[in-house]
Each structure stands twice: as structure tokens, then as C-alpha cells.
Amino acid sequence: MESVINMALLVFLAGTAFAILRRTTLFSVVMLSGVFSLVSAALLVHLDAVDVAFTEAAVGAGVSTVLMLSTLALTARHEAPGTRSRAIPLIVVFLTGLALVYGTLDMPRFGDPSAPVHQHVAPRYISATAHEIGMPNIVTAVLASYRGFDTLGEVTVIFTAGIAVLLLLAGTIREPTTATKITAMEHHLVLRVVTKVLIGPILLFALYVQFHGDYGPGGGFQAGVIFAAAFIIYALVFGLETAGNALPGRAVRILLALGVLIYSGTGVVSFFFNKNFLDYSVLGATAQAGQHIGIILVEFGVGMTVAAVMVSTFYAFAGQNPPIGDEEW
């Protein structure tokens, strides 16, 4: 039964991918890519990757769809019919696919417990997390402590993206004081009321996800994205400058850098106790307590940077003056 669900979701994903390939109206392409991310999130839950499914749904379906829609608002609606011949791309893609299928012949079968992946490094994580780090969610333990430096690299990646978008789009942002397209939402009474109702629970849920990461699916990334989603809804419905008063661009830029500093700061602290970088055991009375404190601090830094990057990217995209009026939409 389990593999039937698996197969169904995968075939559904393939269908969505082909639909994206064929559609030319960019709006439906973006919507279908949101569907693709959500279905892959469902499939990831089915494959026991709950943390990844949470992140894929929040980041893949949520934020990237919002960014793509705001790009469409600034650029074009339809894709011009392709003039170039489709032969070479087809050959290139077919050969790559063939090489990959050839590569799967010696792979361990799907779900085979005796595969080398489950024999060498992973068993230690599963067995040692209970006493070394004392945290139920093994994925967060590995993410923040065993391979904590990967996550620092990852926070730096999202920080780089934030800086890059600021570098590219900050120049053409109008001052938020002028009336922007978004404030045309005044007459949406229903939306304004419901948003006021929803923003509280969303922020509360983001904080819950942030600090619940040790015990269940959750953690810095998901919390940061949900936190940013609350501000994006607020900016969408109440206009960019009211959102600007709540969370000004300058503050976002400081939070952006502060998250990375918190994360690397937690790592540097262990230098003074003559331990290697990112060794949290020095932070608390016992090694395990130190790991707890270290992981909470590190996840907090991650959440701050991710939230700040998503909000500043949305401000950058929403602040551009859209050449296209409401009717053309």
C-alpha cells in the first residue's frame, strides 16, 4: 500500500512537470510550480522526511511563488513561442537521462534497509543523539551540531542572496511614501479584517516552530519563512509604507547581518575555552546542556537571517514601480 501512494504522487508530479513544460501563460506556469512544490512536499512527508517537507512547502510553495508572481507583475504575462530548434536540447537531455538510468542499475533498491547509506555514518547519529545531544529530533541535532558548519555555510548562502538582491534592486526602489499599486487594496474590507485576525496566530505559530525544532519538525528556516510570510501578507494588504513603519528597511538590513553574526559568534565562543569552532559543549554546565543552548542560539540566528532576507527581498520586489496597470493583470 505504501508504495502505491508513492507511485501515485510521483506520477502526479511528472504530470505537473509536463504541464509546466507545455503551458505558455506564465501565470499558470508559476501556479503549477507552486503545485509541484506542494505535491513534492506531500511526497517528502510520505518518505519520512518531515522537516524537509515542512521547509519545501514553506519555501518552495510559499516564498518562491510569491517572488515569481511579483516578478511577473513587473515583467511579462506570456512566453513568446520558441524559435530555436528543439533537437539539440532533446538530445542533450536524453543522453543525460540515459546516463542516470544506467547509473541506477547498481543502486540499492528503494527502501532497502541493507543499503550502504544506512550502515556507515547514519547509525551513529541515530544511536548517539539520545545521550550526546539529548534531543528527540535527530535531524535538528545533525543539522545544528554534528554538521553545524554546513548550516553556517547555508546561512551565509541565504545572507549572500539577500545582499545580492539588495545590490541588484535597491537602486530602483521608489521611496515607500509615494502611493504604490499595493495600497489600492483599501477597499478590500474583507481582506483587511481577515488579515488582522490571522497575523497574530501566524507570528505565534512561527515562534512555536522556531523553538519546537528540537522536539518535532521545525527549526530556524521554517520559522523564518513563516515569520516573513506574516509581514508579506501585512505589506500586501495594508500597503508597503504601513509595513515599512512596522518593520523598516533599515532594521531588516541590520537583522539580516545580525543572524549570521549570532551563528558565527556562538561558534567563536568555543575558541575562548580552547575547544574547536562550533563546539557547544562549553556553553552549558554539562556537555548536553551546552549542546541544547548552542542549538537554540544557532537556530535563532538562522531564523533571524532567513526572516530578514525574505522580508527584504519582498520589499525590494514590491518597491519597484510596476509598468503594468491593474487592468492588464
Binding site: 511528472a14 513568446a80 541506477t104 547509506v117
Partner: protein
Amino acid sequence: MEFKDAFGLFNYWIVIVLMMTGLYIVVSRGNLVKKIVGLNIFQTSVFLLYISMGKVTGGTAPILTGKPEVFSNPLPHVLILTAIVVGIATTALGLALVVRIKNAYNSIEEDEIQKLDLAAENEVDEPGARP
């Protein structure tokens, strides 16, 4: 290769089909936004490859509940949490570039942009028009 064997690999074959669809969209389409969507599909299907290699039949999510249980492999999940963020970072940067290209060229079709570049190049033969 009897049926049970092939069935075991069927999962990976469909993931490969998804990867190739994403790659094909990136390579063959000229619209810049469509290329970014294709890149997204290509990367999301690589995530599915990693996670489906970590799945153990009958295993549950790697969250300790005190009861001895078979867990799926947590390491691919950690790697993919990193790769998702790399994917969204690339998407955000790509979309910002598309907005800037639209401001500069007033088009987001690769062929039109190349035509404009060539026209600018041999028309005045100095290094490109002001934006």
C-alpha cells in the same frame, strides 16, 4: 531483473524523468522566468533523489520517541535542508536579475535580448548602450 527488482528502481526512474523535464525546460525555453521555473523543478527533483535514497521500508521519521523503532536515514534530510535554501537563494537572485533585465532591455525573451545586443554592438561598435 525480475519485477520486484525493477519495481524497486521505478521510484528512481520517475525522479530521473522529473530531473530531465526540468533540465529540458531550462535548456530549450527562451523565456527567462520559465528557465528559472525549470531550474526549480530540476533542483526539487534532485532533492527527491536524495530523500528517496534515505528511506527505509517500514521506517518512520527520525524523531526519537523512546520506543525502539526503525528510523529512516536522517543525513540526506540534513543535506536537503541545506540544498533547499541554496535553491531558493538562486531563484531569488535569478528573479532579481530578470527584473533588472526587463528594465534594461524591456523584454525577457533570450532571443530578443541577443538581437538587441547584436544591434547595439555593430551599430556603433562601442561597448554597449547606456541602460
